[in-house]
């Protein structure tokens, strides 16, 4: 088997120029097919379902209507869902950025001897499923959890702090889940940051704050944009962590889609909300590409 595969490039080497487009297409085709079948078609279907007239019990009719969207935009609860999701998205992204940026900067500057090891440590949480990590946070943050236990037994507080089953818990869990993703994207986008630019700025009279603002920040902007896009999308679409740490008391677009589709069996409604989430992602992507172009 190995002999056969390794012989292919040699056999084709002389005719390389001619077969190149063929090779390119051959390599891209599998992913293109998978993407088409598993992403493009379902999204089109999703869009279509979102216009189907709602009928209870999960029955899909053949009547198309704008009612699902009209209902969504006239319902104050769904507006609350959008704002909750956006607040979570922006808030979690910002906090994650603040937590991960110093880590990424440190990793970028640390001597190569340590870098690989520290890098692995930084992304190691990804080795544990986010469900498990979320349960871990419930153990730590719960009313009878480790954190409250320590505070209460040491007499600092009398009654437990409410750290789970609310937005605060969701924020804590989400930030921790997303930090490795953010750190990875930041480091990937730090390619242009070199020490000499800071030195040049210093020799021209810039103090450390100015150097950060005028040199480090702009040079790392591509990484920041990438990390923020990724974390924004991940935090808006995540629903396990909000469900578990929110204890059913934090209402978001993602949790609502789950409820509508799986519990209420209101597929058209769920589809309409999904389309709205997709539109939000599209906007985020547009902002991202503008930011990247600007700092290139």
């Amino acid at each position: 088997m190995a002999a056969i595969t390794s012989s292919v490039p040699f056999a084709e080497a002389p005719a390389r120029r001619k077969t190149f487009p063929f090779l390119l297409i051959a390599l891209l085709l599998p992913m293109a097919i998978i993407n088409f079948v598993a992403f493009v078609l379902p999204v089109i279907r999703l869009g279509m379902i979102s216009f189907i007239e709602s009928r209870s019990g999960g029955v899909l009719t053949n009547n198309y209507t704008l009612e699902n969207y009209a209902d969504f935009f006239t319902d104050s609860f769904s507006i609350e869902l959008v704002s909750n999701s956006l607040i979570l998205g922006f808030g979690v992204t910002l906090i994650t950025l603040c937590c991960a940026y110093p880590i990424a900067l440190f990793l970028h500057r640390v001597s190569p001897k340590w870098r690989n090891m520290l890098f692995v440590i930084t992304v190691s949480p990804l080795l544990v499923s986010s469900v498990v990590r979320t349960y871990g946070w419930m153990v730590i943050l719960g009313d009878q959890g480790v954190f409250n236990g320590i505070l209460m037994s040491s007499g600092i507080i009398d009654s437990p702090l409410r750290l789970t089953n609310n937005t605060l818990g969701v924020f804590i869990g989400m930030v921790e889940v997303l930090i490795p993703y953010m750190a990875l994207s930041l480091i990937a986008g730090f390619g242009r940051l070199e020490n000499v630019y800071e030195e040049a700025a210093a020799s021209l009279g810039a103090n450390s704050w100015t150097r950060f603002r005028r040199v480090i920040l702009p040079l790392t902007a591509p990484g920041i944009a990438l990390g923020c896009l990724l974390c924004f999308v991940l935090s808006i679409s995540s629903f396990i962590t909000p469900k578990l740490l929110g204890g059913g008391r934090v209402f978001l677009l993602a949790t609502e889609i789950y409820d509508q589709a799986v519990i209420q069996l209101e597929w058209p409604t769920a589809a309409a909300i999904s389309v709205i989430v997709l539109i939000i992602f599209g906007l985020a992507l547009a902002v991202y590409s503008r930011v990247v172009k600007r700092f290139d």
Binding site: R192, Y197, E199, A201, A202, L204, A206
Partner: protein, 378 residues
């Protein structure tokens, strides 16, 4: 010989008049790891408005020295003062030193004009004045109208000149240049050499100029410090360095030189092969030695009787083994009984051209033959 000694003393005394020194480096030392001395105990004084060239082979510690002056590297037990102001422990942004990096370090996210304006902005120069000064600086480095480009849209040489403009525009009290001409073609390099020298003299900026190109050091600088393995081998005027090298390393590194093995017979007498030559042994009276003669200080004549040669000059019979045409000069390699002398004859003044295999007579003045103890300066 007497006058030779005197000449050696005078410039040295001149450069050491401490009170007029503007930049003073005292015991500059940088150690990497446990025992690697990148820069070892440098003492250099540069008078105000002068251009000091730091010359040395790759890896001898030139950049390290410059970075210590700029404050980008911590110094180990040393003192740096500018105009009496001790800056040894000041952070770089408070030193008011212009620095041109070996690899330019232009900010990639800013245009050329923004790069040049950066230092002015840090000094709170107003927008209008800054724009004028940026334009003026870009004209000075012959890049007018390039302000809106990004550094990556420029050639290496152009970037280097932008870096120079960026450092000059702030009119620093000290300018540090780390091989600022290394990426220019020969013509532009000649022009920029004159340009930098002209700007430096007009603005009277005390400057330290790092280079591994000896022509650059000799032609541009008021003072040249030759560095070797982190140490200062010699500090003096270009003429000192070229005519009166302090040790074998300087003699060999600065300018082209023939180095011949020999033995000192007595004061100012060296034996090379079978012959004894009058020379400058610089006070040495015995021991194994190396004799250095510049190629162009050897004159060539068609072979004739040794007895016709004046006793005041050294002469050796030889045979041409190789002829190399270099353009303005022709190089002849001449075998003089076991040793090979490389000689140079200007093509314009050459009365005679020689063929390979031809026999001829090499002559040189005793004072052009400098003799160093074996192992001096490694």
């Amino acid at each position: 010989m007497q006058t030779q000694e005197l000449r050696q003393v005078i410039p040295a005394a001149e450069t050491n008049t401490g009170d007029q020194a503007f930049l003073k480096l005292k015991g500059i030392t940088k150690r990497y790891g446990v025992d690697y001395m990148a820069v070892d105990d440098l003492d250099i004084d540069v008078p105000k408005g002068k251009l000091l060239g730091l010359l040395g082979p790759s890896g001898c510690g030139k950049t390290t020295t410059l970075r210590m002056i700029a404050g980008l590297l911590d110094i180990t037990r040393s003192k740096i003062t500018i105009d009496g102001d001790d800056i040894s422990h000041k952070p770089p942004h408070k030193r008011d030193i212009g620095l041109v990096f070996q690899n330019y370090a232009l900010f990639p996210h800013m245009t050329v004009a923004q790069n040049v304006a950066f230092g002015l902005e840090m000094r709170g120069v107003g927008r209008v004045e800054a724009r004028d000064r940026v334009e003026e600086a870009l004209e000075m480095v012959r890049l007018p109208g390039y302000g809106e480009r990004k550094p990556k849209e420029m050639s290496g040489g152009q970037q280097q000149r932008v870096a120079l403009a960026r450092a000059l525009v702030i009119r620093p009290r000290l300018l540090l240049l780390d091989e600022p001409l290394s990426n220019l073609d020969a013509k532009l390099r000649d022009d920029m050499r004159i340009e930098i020298r002209e700007i430096q003299q007009r603005l009277q900026i005390t400057t330290v100029f790092v280079t591994h190109d000896q022509v650059e050091a000799l032609t541009m600088c008021d003072l040249v410090g030759v560095m070797h393995k982190g140490k200062l081998a010699q500090l003096g005027t270009p003429e000192d360095i070229y005519e009166r090298p302090a040790d074998l390393f300087v003699a060999d590194f600065v300018g082209r030189t023939n180095i011949l093995d020999g033995e000192i017979e007595a004061l100012d007498r060296v034996r090379i092969g079978a012959s004894v030559y009058p020379c400058n042994t610089r006070g040495l009276t015995s021991g194994k030695a190396k004799a250095a003669i510049r190629p162009h200080r050897i004159s060539l004549t068609p072979s004739r009787d040794r007895s016709l040669v004046s006793m005041a000059t050294n002469a050796a019979h030889g045979k041409v083994t190789r002829v190399t045409y270099i353009g303005d000069v022709v190089q002849y390699d001449i075998d003089i009984g076991g040793n090979t002398l490389t000689t140079e004859v200007h093509t314009a003044s050459a009365g005679h051209s020689f063929q390979s295999g031809e026999k001829l007579l090499c002559e040189w003045k005793p004072q052009d033959m400098q003799v160093f103890a074996q192992g001096s300066g490694n």
